[in-house]
Amino acid sequence: MVQRSRVTDCSGRKFQSISAFEYALWALDKHMWTALLNYIPKGHAHSSLWGQLLTQYQQLKTQGVTYQLHGKTIIEQHFDFQHTIIDALQTQVNLYQAPGYKDFDILDTQWRDGVGGAQKLLPMHVVAEYCSNEPFHPVPEFIAPPQPTNGLRIGKKNEPWFSVKCKLGEGFAACKGGRAYAARTPNVLGWLITQGAPRDLAAMTKLYSVRTQDLIMLQAQLEDHLAPNSASTSTASFKKQ
């Protein structure tokens, strides 16, 4: 769990040295880090492991995680929801809601390239939320793990989000809105029917907020395992990016 190795994730990020626990923290994958931690047997025999987990948590908070993507080196504390999917969806909504003449070519291009491109960067747990059968409207609380589904709906079939032949970010973006699935949506008219873009934006903003808070609260949980009889007074803070 704390052993580091060199890996490449589904979006093509190359991590030279990262552990399973660190990746779950970086991705803000609460359900994964909870599953990993639940697997540690109870008792004092594993206090050194809890110490290593807390050390990795602190290192993530102070130094971040380094990876390469498309030839650029990036250091960040966690997956950047704000400057990827949230900004892309916000741009789309702003473009559509701006008064006056609308250039649908620009809107459609930003939808496919901007939103679709950002969706190709999503960690798998965010993809799982998109592909789960719980609609994004009303905005979910994002407490329970999403139910596994068959991926992205394309016509009458489903395709994996990250498959080689999937044209996400090139020919279309994924949209969910009030539906119980994420579907291929090639242009603005596709999401207007379900008001998908603003609803997906609200859901992604909420998910980011909830998972950031989960990560902050994790510090106290880790500290409690090292000092089980003392109340935690953690004041950890991960700044939003």
Binding site: M1, Q3, R4, S5, R6, V7, D9, C10, S17, I18, S19, A20, Y23, A24, A27, D29, H31, M32, A35, L36, N38, Y39, P123, M124, H125, V127, A128, P145
Partner: protein, 66 residues
């Protein structure tokens, strides 16, 4: 690679482990079976890679099983 690996005993342990990070998992698994020292050094690496692999893919059950 085989020839280079034969010089491993001359390296400090940290370099042996660092070099091992650049080997494919199949080769690591093979080396881990060569002797007790390499088993201790290298056996955790394929397991760690496999665990991160499942974590990255959001495979909760497979990650826990490992």
């Amino acid at each position: 690679m085989q020839t280079q690996f034969e010089r491993f005993p001359e390296l400090p342990q940290e370099l042996e482990v660092e070099s091992a990070h650049h080997l494919p998992s199949s080769r690591l698994a093979h080396y881990a079976q060569m002797n007790k020292k390499y088993h201790t050094l290298f056996q955790p690496l394929p397991d760690a890679r496999q665990l991160v692999h499942w974590v990255m893919r959001g495979e909760l059950v497979k990650a826990q099983a490992l």
